[in-house]
Structures are given as structure tokens and as C-alpha cells.
Amino acid sequence: MNVSRFTVALLLVLWAAPLVCFANGTEGSVTITVGSKSFTESVILGDMLAHLARQAGIEVSHQRQLGGTHVLWNALLSGEIDAYPEYTGTLMQETLARDNLLTEAQLTQALATRGLRMTRPLGFNNSYAIGMQEALADQLKLRTISDLHHHPELVLGFGNEFMDRADGWPGLQQRYQLPHRNVRGLDHDLAYRGIESGKLHVTDLYVTDAEIDYYNLRALEDDLNYFPVYEAVILYRADLEQRAPAVAALFKRLAGRIDAPVMRELNARVKLQGDAESAVAASFLEENLKLDIELQTPTAWQRFWRHTREHLLLVGISLGAAILVAIPLGILAARRQGIGQIVLAIAGIVQTIPSLALFVFLIPLLGIGGPPAVVALFLYSLLPIIRNTHAGLRDIAPAIAESAMALGLPSHARLRIVELPLATRAILAGIKTSAVINVGTATLAALIGAGGYGQPILTGIRLDDIGLILQGAIPAAVLALLVQGAFELIERKLLPRDLRSSGETQNKCL
């Protein structure tokens, strides 16, 4: 087996993949990328930024619901995105907490040293609030956060980001000395459903959340003034002013235009009335900035094809590379006992890393989007193929392996003529397992901006839209079956008729 050829092929695949598939077209005309966090308000604001850039004649892509503050901040610093909506409180209390910033001027200064700028506040303060059902609050006579003190039996559920942030639950608990022990972290949007069903009693709210009215929630008064002011701003890279001055100018026009009731209304139109974020963003801009937005809404089919294309690319590249790497590793493992144990152990450990964690680990190394997703999926696909190649080769009857030796066939010829063909069924079974895992795990890639069928699933979770979730889940399941079927066809082609019917009797009479 020509190892160097495999290596070259793999390198080509890994190099070419990001360039060919995920390039944002950096050459020639200026293009920019905007990002948004994984909640509706951020996506609407992100869509506004995209519309504005397009208005200035700049090609723009919007990395929707890319993740939490940390992911977006790093993506902005590294230049993978050029702008995203942020909140001053988040920057001062969390992201730049070490700088001990107290005023907006200091914040501007701190951003400037990092090559970033922000617009003036957009006009609403989307502070955190602590909320619960109005009826329950009445019943327990809860009005302020301090009142929670007397009810340690309440179940608290907070958005994952709030759970971990310095300005979130840890600080809140300390300030108010809250005694609650039953506190869990979950997706912000799922928390509302928990509140509605009564499984959760208390959660964190964003002041502009449309759900506050919808679910009839009461925001408890922050009587100890714990939460800072979270003025919404647009954060962008300073170099945007040179690269696309018209875009930066348009971003600045948003300042002071969106007050809290307006933002809550925009959120409600998406979350409660089911309008598309980009349509809501466009109509706001048309009414308030007197811009004529040309709305490009892709049809359901166009979206489906885009997700299919993205998903197939993720799966195809990562699985292809995994096959090219894992089969030689499996062969090595089968031939060299010592190295084999090490290879299998390492691949096994990789498999135990939770997939979401692996995606996030890779962001600092490879940024956001396709490349880290492909690498993570590649790593996940290795073990089943390595293990099955190893097992398939080790399971060859000694009589057959030795007969090949006794003929005088050298090692590589034995592998090619005898051993690999006999292990084909096992190797293909490993590839099929990998393919199914890969197709399923690839739906998580949407969390780091790689798109695919995970995108509608993610949006569906955010909007509590089962139909949208199924738009991602069903094609992903069908794709998994199709990929498996394809490898079954390959198996038929590759295996001679004798090996297909494994139960063939071995004891016919003369």
C-alpha cells in the first residue's frame, strides 16, 4: 500500500476543501461577512446589517446564529466576520471584564486597541431580567429578586450563556445570596417552554424578548441593581471603514433608531407571528431609514438545495478523507500489534469527546464554518473504519494468511491480493457506520456556522417550529439511509459471489 500517495491525497483534500467550498470570495470585489448570536434579536439585527451592506452595493454573507458571545467575539477579532450586534454590558462585564471599564469612552478606547469600533447605542437597553409566571409570582407574593430568598424550593433554569457568564448567575447568586440548589443550564428558548409547562419556575429574560408578554411573565425587580446596562450596539472591525466606508456609514445610521418597544415588536413578529427575520429587518429599514430594500427570499426549495449541498460537502469531504486515512491506519494496527493498540486507543479517545465540544475546540485553530466542522467530522469518522479494518484483517483464517506467505507473495502483494479483499466486508461495514454517524453529527456543524441540515433544525429550535426542525431532521435521516444504501451497492460490486453468501456450506461431498 502506497502510504505517501494517501498522505498527498489527504493533504490535497484538507487543503482544497476550505478553499473550494467555503471561500467567501476574498478576491476582486469587496465582500463582507456579518454574524449574529444564536437568538432571534441578534439574527434580526444581523439581517439588518446584511441588508445595509447590500444597499451599499457590497456583497455580503450573514453567518446566522453562529453561537455565543465568545465565538462571535473571536471571529470578529480574527477577521472571519466584519461586524455583529453586541451589548455594551456584555463587553464591559464579560468580554473585557479584566479591563475594568466604567464608561462608554473607556470601552471605545479598549475596542480601538483591538482594531474594533462600535456604533452609538441603537436605542434600547436589552438588560437581563429574572422572570417567572405572573400567576406563580402573585401566589408566592414575589416582586423583587430579593424575594426569591424565601423560596429555595423553586427550580431555576437559565440560558447556557447566563449560567457561565461573570455577569450572569454566579454573580447574581453572590449579590443576592440566593439559596437555590436546583439550578440548571439550558437553551434560552427552551427555557421559555420549561416555564410554560411549569417544570421551571424562574429563568433569565432579555428585556426585549417577545415572550415576556406572550407567556405572561413577570420580570422581578432588580432591587440590588445587579444587572448593568446592556445598550445594543453594532460592533465592527476598524478596517471596515477603509474597505467599505459606505457600509460603515450605513451601520451608524441605525444608532438611536430602535427603542425597546420597537425591538420587542420586531422580535414578536418573528417569534410569535412567524415572519422571516430578513423580511422583518427589511420592513424596519424601509420604514425607518427610508431605504428601498430588495428582499431576496430564497424559496423553500432553494434553501433545501443549499442545505443539501452544504451537508453533502461536509459529509463527503470528511468521510472521504477519513476513509483514506483510516484504512492505512487500520492496516498498520493489524500488522504492528504495539502501534495498533496506540492507534486504536487514540481514535477511541477522540470518539469520546462530545461532538459539540470538539467543534468548539477547533474554532481557535481553524476559525468558524466549514473547516473546523470538516475536521471534527473527519476525526469522528476514523474509529469505526480503523477498528473494522483492523478486525477484518485479524480475522482472516491463519491457514489462508499462511498459504499466501507460503506461495512466496511479498507483504504488499498479500495485502492487495488476499488480505484486503477478504477484509472488504468488515471495512465497508466500518465505513457504513462512520457514514451514518457522520451524517448525523454534521447537523451539529450548523452551530459553528457550517450550515447544512442543522441550520433549519437550529432555527426551528429557536422559533419553536416543529415543521422547521423536521425540514432538517428528515432529510438528514434520508441522507443517512441513502449513504448506507450506496455503500451496500459498492459492497455488491466489490465482493465476488462467493463471499456474499457467507453461510455457504464447506462440506460438500465429492
Partner: protein, 250 residues
């Protein structure tokens, strides 16, 4: 002439073969016999290089067997094992010609040789496109023999070639094999645990026990002048049941 001098083999704590000398003149059929685990198969595996001796040298026609020349030397030997060791994913034709094709022998030569060998082992040419699982046990051993003979080796090694066959087929194949050996005039080393089979095939019998050669010679010598009581016991153990049976019913 195959010469083994002071060849020994040890697997961890067990001595599989004590330092052993053995000479097999060209054209002779030598049979290794003895109870299970006596070292007879080990001896054969050392000759074909499937395991490496801990000491001693093996020379075939003056050339010593070394790890470096192992692949070339194996082409001068044919090796047949009990279950045939045929490659289940290859047709009979491909099983027999695999090494010749690897060596890029002329295609016409390969075809001629295949037909010649099929005739020798009395297999119809139609069978050549079948797969091993579609053959009977006896047919499989014939194919295995064809494969061993394909490159016309000087030395033919057979490890219990008939051991897995039922008695009728075994009887038939014994006769055929013997006539094939006679036609080929090759040096043959065969392993068996069946004394009658050994007596039937062998110019010389080598009786082994616990990794040592106990006695070497024609069957008559072993039967008439056993070197030690074990030789007599071994021969009688397989002969007596039949003799008592004939006494009672004869």
C-alpha cells in the same frame, strides 16, 4: 537434496523441536509421522519459512534459507495444508495462477500449465471458474495441489493433506497422489499421523515424539527393529483394532 542441520525451535517455554539433523535426497518421498504436538508440522513450517528456527541451518540444493532469500526460496517449494488454504474470494483458476501472474509469467504459459495440472490431478477444466466454496473437500485438495505445483517447485511439502477428508475419498486420493508423486519425481515431504498412510507413501518414515526424531527408516525397519518401545506402541496402536476385528470376524 534438502539438508537440515541442528535446526531447533522453541516457543516461549516449550521446546517444539530439539536440535535436529535431517537429509532428504532429491526425488525421495519422506513422511514425518508421530502423535499430535510431536514437532512434525513445526519441522515443515521451518522448511517453508513460516517460522524461523532458533538455531541451525536449512539448505535446499546448497542454498541456505535466510530471511533475505525467503521469498525466492518459497517459489522453489510447494506447500499444501489440511484444509487447502485456498483463497475463498478467488476462482480456482485465480487461486492456482496467483503467484505466476504476480511474477508476470507469460499468459499462454500460464494457460498451458493450468491445463496440464488440471489433467494431472484429474479436475475438469469447467471447474476452473468455480470458487472454493463451490467445490467438494477432495476437489479443494486437488486445487491446492495444483497451486503448489504451478511454478514447478523442486520440493513439495504437504501437511496432513488428506486429514480433513472422509475415508472413501481419502483412500481414492491416496492412490492418485502416489501416482502423481511417481510421475513428478520431486522431493516430497509429507506430514501425517496415520501409520498406514505413511507406510503407503514413504520411502523413508521419520517418527517423531516430543520434538525429537525417534527413528528414521523404511516402514519395515520401524516395524521389525523398533529403536525404542514407543515405536512399537505407536505402530501397534493404529494396527491392533483392525487386527482384532479381523480375528473375531475372519
Amino acid at each position: 537434496m534438502l539438508v537440515l542441520s541442528q535446526v531447533s525451535k522453541r516457543y516461549e517455554d516449550t521446546l517444539a523441536l530439539a536440535p535436529t539433523d535431517l537429509q532428504v535426497p532429491a526425488g525421495e518421498t519422506l513422511v514425518l509421522i508421530g502423535p499430535s504436538g510431536c514437532g512434525k508440522s513445526t519441522l515443515l513450517r521451518l522448511i517453508v519459512g513460516l517460522s524461523q528456527p532458533n538455531s541451525g541451518t536449512i539448505t535446499l540444493e546448497g542454498t541456505a534459507l535466510t530471511p533475505a532469500n525467503l521469498l525466492q526460496m518459497r517459489q522453489r517449494m510447494g506447500y499444501v495444508i489440511q484444509e487447502g488454504g485456498l483463497f475463498p474470494h478467488l476462482s480456482v483458476r485465480d487461486n492456482v495462477t496467483v503467484m505466476a501472474r504476480y511474477l508476470r509469467r507469460d499468459a499462454d504459459w500460464i494457460d498451458r500449465r493450468l491445463a496440464e495440472l488440471a489433467q494431472l490431478v484429474r479436475l475438469p477444466l469447467e471447474l476452473m471458474s468455480r470458487f472454493p466454496a463451490e467445490l467438494s473437500g477432495g476437489q479443494r485438495q486437488r486445487v491446492s495441489l495444483m497451486r503448489a505445483l504451478m511454478l514447478d517447485p523442486e520440493l513439495l511439502l504437504l501437511d496432513e493433506p488428506l486429514g480433513a477428508l472422509d475415508p472413501m475419498i481419502r483412500y481414492e486420493l491416496q492412490r492418485e497422489l502416489k501416482s502423481i508423486f511417481a510421475q513428478l519425481a520431486k522431493t516430497v515431504i509429507m506430514v501425517t499421523h496415520d501409520i498406514a498412510e505413511a507406510a503407503f507413501f514413504g520411502h523413508t518414515l521419520v517418527l517423531m515424539r516430543d520434538g525429537r526424531i525417534v527413528q528414521t527408516g523404511p516402514f519395515k525397519t520401524l516395524a521389525r527393529t523398533p529403536a525404542e518401545p514407543f515405536v512399537e506402541r505407536f505402530i501397534n496402536a493404529q494396527r491392533e483394532p483392525m487386527e482384532q476385528f479381523t480375528k473375531v470376524f475372519g
